[in-house]
């Protein structure tokens, strides 16, 4: 083809601008998607990209990537992206759209994602009529994980988990469009297929319409695309395409299930978000003007990174203890994290939390090797005692450390905080006694910040007083203990 001849031709169909020129995912193959030959995702991606180009919305589109084969959509689309946990894309899309109403939010999901683990999210997003566009790619199987039965698997269809074919004992194929069409709010629901040329062209129109509806502010639109998976179906690309048309469509009928595009009125845009300054008043707490002066200038450069693990049984105030530290740290202008970990029981289950207080931004809220462990019962000491860093501290709620938990390379303070709290008036303040001791060790939280946290988290005046006394007692306990050490040495 000579240049001279090329001049007579214009480009009619080419790669959409909404795609990156190359895909950075791998060293090699940067021209190609990671999809198998003949995969429907590529076709649907192109339809979405084409619609983004045509509607001129690339700079305000935010794609919500799912879990499944299309998890890597963010490597291909040159738009904003949030990758959601399995099934949660419509919930994430809701948040993105509501906080950034000017953005165009496209939730892209497969059937293992949307129709199984995410069935609640899609149902409620549709029922709320969220002004988002959902592209639902249905291939009747879990493909990425190797071909397990999905809710959308056809009756009689074999999968690795229904090798003899799906029977009624595994339920029936879930019809998402039909299901959502029973709801009042959705504006546009259509099932399309990639079974032949005509259907592919119709699918492209439907995808564009679903996105255009959002641009016009009309509300919830969903397009279900019956899409080939040649690899898992064990067919050639062309056979898979025919199977959609000849077999899959018998179960999943392609048609429009709801179309109020002509009559729907644009939904009012949400009002401006409440300004942060007003939030404390709405919650009935005093606004804090500026973070309390944490320390003098010299101290501001000192490195701080305290990692604390607090463990006990549910009901001992283990989580509150950690929350109090984090709250006080926040008040003192530190970076903080508080990560609770507990079972479903409200009482008597095990419970622990990770707390970090640092000057620099915190990379991970997990505390694997704490500087300080507060073990509010013996099982906690058994479980976490060995994880404490050398030179660290173990605060044990008991007067005698079990021999197997003894360590010579850490400081072990064994006092019954429960007993001490009981002496003060209520054994339930044991957590605050322990906190007092932690504060005395760490020495990074000014008392004003601790008082602030206490007032913020403890509402009852009776408890406020008791907790304040318990904190003081805890500090004393540690000073006494240090005294003993000095004395012993």
């Amino acid at each position: 083809m000579s240049d001279q001849t090329d001049l007579d031709y214009i480009v009619a169909h080419s790669k959409a601008r909404a795609f990156y020129p190359t895909y950075e995912r791998k060293e090699e193959l940067q021209h190609q998607t990671h999809y198998c030959p003949g995969c429907g995702h590529g076709m649907v991606h192109k339809m979405v990209a084409q619609a983004i180009d045509e509607l001129g919305i690339q700079d305000r589109t935010i794609l919500i990537s799912p879990v499944g084969c299309s998890v890597f959509a963010y490597y291909y689309f040159d738009v904003g992206n949030v990758q959601a946990a399995h099934g949660r894309a419509p919930a994430v899309a809701t948040a993105v759209k509501r906080t950034r109403p000017e953005s165009i939010v496209i939730s892209y999901q497969g059937d293992g994602d949307l129709a199984a683990i995410g069935s609640a999210e899609i149902l409620h997003a549709a029922n709320r009529g969220e002004n988002i566009s959902v592209i639902f790619v249905n291939n009747a199987i879990y493909s990425m994980t190797g071909g397990q039965m999905a809710p959308t698997t056809l009756m009689g269809q074999a999968s690795t988990t229904s090798p003899g074919g799906r029977t009624p004992a595994e339920g029936y194929p879930l019809h998402i469009c039909e299901l959502l069409a029973t709801l009042e709010a959705p504006v546009y629901l259509e099932r399309v297929a990639l079974g032949n040329n005509k259907q592919v062209a119709q699918a492209a129109r439907a995808v564009r319409k679903a996105i255009e509806n959002q641009v016009n502010g009309l509300g919830f639109s969903l397009v279900e695309v019956l899409s080939p998976c040649p690899t898992i179906w064990k067919m050639s690309a062309v056979e898979a395409q025919r199977w959609i048309h000849d077999v899959m469509e018998k179960t999943f009928v392609p048609r429009v299930y709801r179309d109020r595009t002509q009559t729907a009125e644009a939904r009012p845009a949400p009002g401006p978000a409440i300004s942060l300054e007003k939030v404390p008043a709405m919650l009935g707490v005093a606004a804090k003007e500026t973070p309390a002066a944490f320390a003098g200038e010299g101290a501001a450069t000192a490195e701080i990174d305290w990692q604390v693990r607090i463990a006990g049984f549910g009901g001992q105030g283990v989580l509150l203890l950690g929350e109090m530290m984090a709250e006080a740290g926040l008040d003192a202008g530190l970076e903080v994290s508080w990560l609770p970990s507990y079972g479903p029981e409200m009482r008597s289950g095990t419970s622990n939390c990770h707390v970090r207080l640092a000057r620099e931004p915190i990379d991970s809220p997990l505390v694997g090797h704490p500087h300080v462990l507060v073990a509010m019962n013996e099982p906690s000491l058994h479980k976490f005692g060995s994880s404490v860093r050398r030179g660290g501290w173990v605060l044990y709620n008991g007067d005698d450390v079990p021999p197997e938990c003894e360590r010579r390379d850490v400081h072990i303070v064994a006092r019954s905080f429960t007993h001490l709290a009981d002496e003060l008036g209520d054994a339930r303040a044991a957590n605050m006694v322990a906190l007092g001791a932690v504060l005395e060790i760490a020495q990074v939280l000014p008392e004003a910040s601790v008082d602030h946290a206490l007032g913020r988290l403890v509402k009852s005046p009776r408890w406020l007083d008791l907790d304040a006394r318990a904190l003081t007692r805890g500090r004393e306990v540690l000073r006494e203990w240090r005294g003993e050490v000095c004395h012993a040495e």
Binding site: M1, Q4, T5, D6, L7, D8, Y9, I10, V11, A12, H13, S14, K15, A16, F19, L29, H31, Q32, T33, Y35, C36, P37, G38, C39, G40, H41, G42, M43, H45, K46, A49, Y76, L194, N197, V200, A201, A204, P230, S236, A237, V238, Q241
Partner: protein, 88 residues
């Protein structure tokens, strides 16, 4: 173009990107696409233009799963009276 007529369209295939699934071969209305005998760098038989008759309809582009494997060109409309191939 031995007969002096030009195709209404032209097909360009990025042989690095094509995975040889064959959907374009199946979809092409005038049936002018075939899979090559040669294998590309990754071992795929890629799509190629197999003779005259492309109309530039773009259906091959639509069914192709790869974003940029196929580019379709279409012959410019000429002002009335301009002879075919006058610029050659």
């Amino acid at each position: 173009m031995a007969d002096g007529r030009r195709d209404g369209g032209r097909l360009q295939v990025d042989t690095d990107e094509c995975k040889g699934c064959g959907l374009c071969v199946e979809a092409c209305p005038p049936k002018v696409i075939a899979l090559s005998e040669r294998l590309n760098h990754y071992g795929y038989r890629t799509a190629e233009y197999a003779g005259a008759g492309c109309t530039g309809c773009g259906i091959c582009f639509l069914v192709c799963p790869e974003p940029g494997a196929i580019t379709v060109l279409r012959l410019k409309r000429r002002p009335a009276g301009a002879a075919e191939g006058a610029s050659v």
